[in-house]
């Protein structure tokens, strides 16, 4: 059975659900089946948010533990919460911008050292990519387009060999006027930045 499973995780307000949706929309214009799950409610801002995406001949919007092909964690510690979804050599992309919850200030929980998280992830996979989109976008004065930045990263890694024009088509459909321009630039910055990490395009694909 063909299935490609993606987990997008982060913190409320980071655009997790939108990113997952954009990936699915691209898959659909590439004539693939796509389903995804969202979790709404309770977490308005600052809560943990995740979305599962499945592309291929599948019905369930959530995938099995240990079957994640790609994990995009828009916050460095959040990947830990869902690590049971990863498998050996999953592609893992991390946006290296910490969001420290108030529970840490209150002293009721700890934020782990990022280096320790990354060391553990390297034990799991050879395909770990760490990039600080938040910082890059803040420097360019576009703090609100992290999801399209990450879409750009995804489009460069491109595990399912989607056409670049499909991504642009979806950006056009989803964003209008100045928002389209802004998100297009953010998408392109994402592509450029991941390129700099010299990602080796040899793996992946349905």
């Amino acid at each position: 059975m063909n299935e490609y499973n993606i987990l997008v995780v982060g913190v409320g307000g980071q655009g997790v659900l939108k990113l997952a949706q954009l990936i699915c929309e691209v898959a659909i214009i590439e004539n693939k089946n796509a389903v995804m799950s969202e979790i709404h409610g309770m977490a308005q801002r600052g809560g943990s948010v995740f979305s599962e995406v499945r592309i291929g001949d599948v019905l369930s919007p959530i995938f099995e533990d240990g079957e994640g092909d790609l994990i995009i964690s828009i916050e460095p510690s959040e990947v830990l919460r869902y690590i049971h979804k990863a498998k050996k050599n999953s592609l893992i992309v991390i946006n290296d911008d910490m969001i420290v919850p108030f529970t840490v200030s209150l002293g009721i929980s700890k934020y782990p050292q990022r280096e320790l998280i990354y060391d553990e992830l390297k034990r799991l996979t050879e395909n770990l990519f760490i990039i600080n989109g938040t910082k890059i976008l803040n420097e360019k004065g576009m703090p609100f387009s992290l999801n399209t930045f990450m879409l750009g990263v995804f489009s460069y890694i491109n595990p399912l060999n989607f056409k670049l024009e499909s991504f642009y088509k979806i950006l056009e459909n989803e964003f209008k006027d100045k928002f389209f321009e802004m998100n297009k630039i953010s998408f392109e910055i994402g592509r450029e930045e991941i390129k700099k990490l010299s990602y080796n395009k040899t793996k992946g694909g349905l």
Partner: protein
């Protein structure tokens, strides 16, 4: 997505829709004319979607004050000959229950569909009741869609069944369906051009006992006829894989079953039910006869399993029946691929390797749902905390209610002691005030107050109770995504409406201690609470300030930029801002206390909290 696409007549067009958006599309496609709801996760997006396109789509939509009202609005539209729909979260059906039960007797004229969005695993609810049980209890047809495209089609199918048999139809969704996205291929929109008119028929629509006795009999007769429909429904599907054993399942669980047996090539055939009540006995019997062993896969209650076991007994069937096992398939929480895989492999006596990766000793920080930066509720809770400390009251009881403010349960406030259901804070406060000498301070939001807070407040006043009710009026229904309510001044169609003034309403009851405060003004709020706690009787304080998220949006649009920072020279590190106020924007870095500028909402309450005036506006 541009929601106007939901009004498109472009047959065959593929949209990538949320289950809830697909329900909305089904209503539109099926020629629905009246829809009403009270918002509640996981049902809210159906209403949010319909509200945005009602005008263009030429139908009526309202956010009613509660689910019972919503139910009655939609039911009476049906009696006028229109196709109508009402929908809410599972516990909303409890609120609508009285009319729901009667509606089965009264029946329908235009198609009438009720959608219940259940919440297995309780992602955002107080219980995980299985409303298939309530549908059977009321003796209504039940449909269980498996994916967003079926969500769309089943609303239309529901309208047809409802009109053919003059009966309301219950569609049962769950969080996983309501909040999954899938490809939906839209159909043409039905244009019925009906002229609504209510034809009087009291023997049908007024269930006085003499009528009700006949109506109940008629209902049972109708359900016998509808059984023919479920026996032959295109939504009850057999998947023949030349299997050795049979599986009977329904709704969302079908997806887990089919994915697992296809992926691992397990030898099962599957009967997937979409039309589950009346139970299609003959169809199921014919399926069961082929297998020595049949497994029933369903989340929560054993609704299908019980039917299957009764059927076996009634028809003397030989198949052994497997279902809930108290280990993997329990009545608890939602099912998923892993649970179904584990059960089926263990049933077949097969092993599989669990390839789960673990990271031991490193855990992510806790991120409990939390009141947002700038949330006016935090300011109100802080004011109560200050007053109680001043008056040396340590054992006040806080009956809370349902909304964002239930998060007052968390540190450092600990200000939610009980919560039963919508509006319960007021009734519970009444009972406490008659049974304990402790001070009672109960909390209710504006939307919840309109929903179910008014009758218990009348009760409290009339029965001479003694408590303080704080109405946390943030001028919206915040937790479910900012739907309007009567304190907002906008209705479900997007039109302006006269506001209902809460303080006038409370005074109208006869309550004399009624004060309106702005929680962003801490001194004023603290004074009012202190005064209230020194008085006897029912006291009401309305703590009014719009939701911080709405305020943020407005400020962003108007280009207003206010941020606070901590002046290091003045800060004495007392940490009151952290330990007693706990705004998520304030954090400790090394030795310093800082404000995260991206999170700061500029409300300025922390500046009033700081005893050293160390928190200042950033210039």
């Amino acid at each position: 997505m541009d929601l106007n696409l939901l009004l498109s007549n472009d047959k065959g067009r593929k949209l990538f829709l949320l289950g809830n958006e697909a329900f909305a599309r089904g209503f539109i496609e099926g020629g629905g004319k009246v829809a009403a709801t009270y918002p509640g996760t996981p049902s809210s997006e159906i209403g949010n979607t319909l509200s945005k396109i009602a005008k263009k789509g030429n139908f009526y939509f309202e956010f009613s004050t509660n689910e019972k009202v919503a139910f009655e609005v939609a039911a009476s539209a049906s009696l006028s000959g229109l196709r109508s729909m009402t929908f809410f979260k599972h516990v909303g059906l409890n609120v609508a229950m009285d009319s729901f039960m009667s509606s089965a007797y009264l029946g329908t004229v235009g198609g009438f569909v009720i959608i219940t969005c259940d919440d297995p695993s309780m992602f955002s609810s107080q219980n995980e009741q299985d409303n298939r049980v309530l549908g059977k209890f009321a003796n209504l047809p039940i449909l269980e869609p498996r994916n967003p495209d079926e969500a769309r089609r089943m609303v239309k199918y529901g309208f047809i069944i409802s009109e053919k048999f003059e009966i309301p139809v219950l569609i049962r969704s769950t969080t996983r369906l309501s909040h999954m996205r899938g490809i939906v291929e839209i159909d043409e929109i039905e244009n019925l051009n009906r002229v609504p008119y209510f034809n009087k028929n009291p023997s049908r629509f007024v269930p006085v006992p003499a009528n009700a006795r006949i109506l109940h009999k008629n209902l049972i007769e109708k359900m016998k006829e509808i059984k023919e429909e479920s026996e032959n429904s295109p939504y009850n599907i057999i998947y023949d894989f030349n299997g050795k054993y049979g599986i009977i399942t329904s709704g969302i669980s079908s997806n887990y079953v089919l994915d697992i047996i296809k992926k691992y090539k397990l030898l099962f055939d599957v009967l997937s039910l979409g039309f589950t009540n009346p139970f299609p006995e003959v169809f199921v019997e014919n399926f069961m006869k082929k297998y020595e062993k049949v497994i029933v896969v369903e989340e929560l209650e054993s609704v299908l399993e019980n039917e299957v076991r009764i059927l076996k007994e009634k028809r003397g069937l030989k198949s052994e029946i497997y279902g809930k096992d108290d280990k993997i398939f329990t009545n608890l929480y939602e099912y998923n691929l892993d649970r179904v895989k584990e059960y089926l492999f263990s049933f077949l006596g097969k092993e599989y390797e669990k390839k789960i990766f673990e990271i031991k000793n490193i855990n992510p920080p806790l991120r409990p749902p939390v009141l947002c930066p700038g949330c006016p509720h935090r300011a109100t809770y802080y004011a109560v905390f200050k007053v109680l400390r001043k008056l040396k009251i340590k054992d006040a009881v806080f009956p809370s209610d349902i909304g964002c403010y239930t998060l007052g349960i968390g540190k450092p406030f600990d200000m939610a002691d009980t919560c039963y259901s919508m509006g319960s804070s007021v009734g519970v406060a009444s009972g406490f005030s008659k049974s304990t000498e402790q001070k009672i301070i109960s909390y209710i939001g504006d939307s919840t107050f309109f929903h179910a807070g008014i009758p218990p407040l009348i009760n409290a006043f009339y029965n001479k109770n003694n408590f303080l009710l704080i109405v946390l009026d943030n001028m919206t229904t915040a937790m479910t995504g900012h739907q309007p309510n009567p304190s907002v001044g906008i209705n479900g169609m997007g039109d302006e409406s006269p506001k209902v003034i809460i303080e006038d309403l409370v005074k109208g009851i006869g309550i004399s201690f009624v004060k309106v405060v702005d929680p962003y003004n801490l001194i004023q709020t603290i004074e009012a609470i202190e005064e209230a706690l020194k008085e006897e009787g029912v006291k009401v304080i309305i703590s009014r300030r719009e939701c911080a998220l709405i305020r943020d949006d407005k400020m962003r649009k108007e280009g207003i930029y206010i941020k606070y920072f901590i002046n290091d020279e003045k800060c004495r590190k007392c940490k009151i801002c952290i330990n007693q106020f706990s705004c998520p924007a304030i954090y400790i870095e090394g030795e310093k206390i800082k404000i995260n500028e991206n999170l700061c909402d500029g409300c300025g309450v922390c500046a009033q909290v700081c005893p050293f005036n160390a928190i200042e506006v950033k210039k």
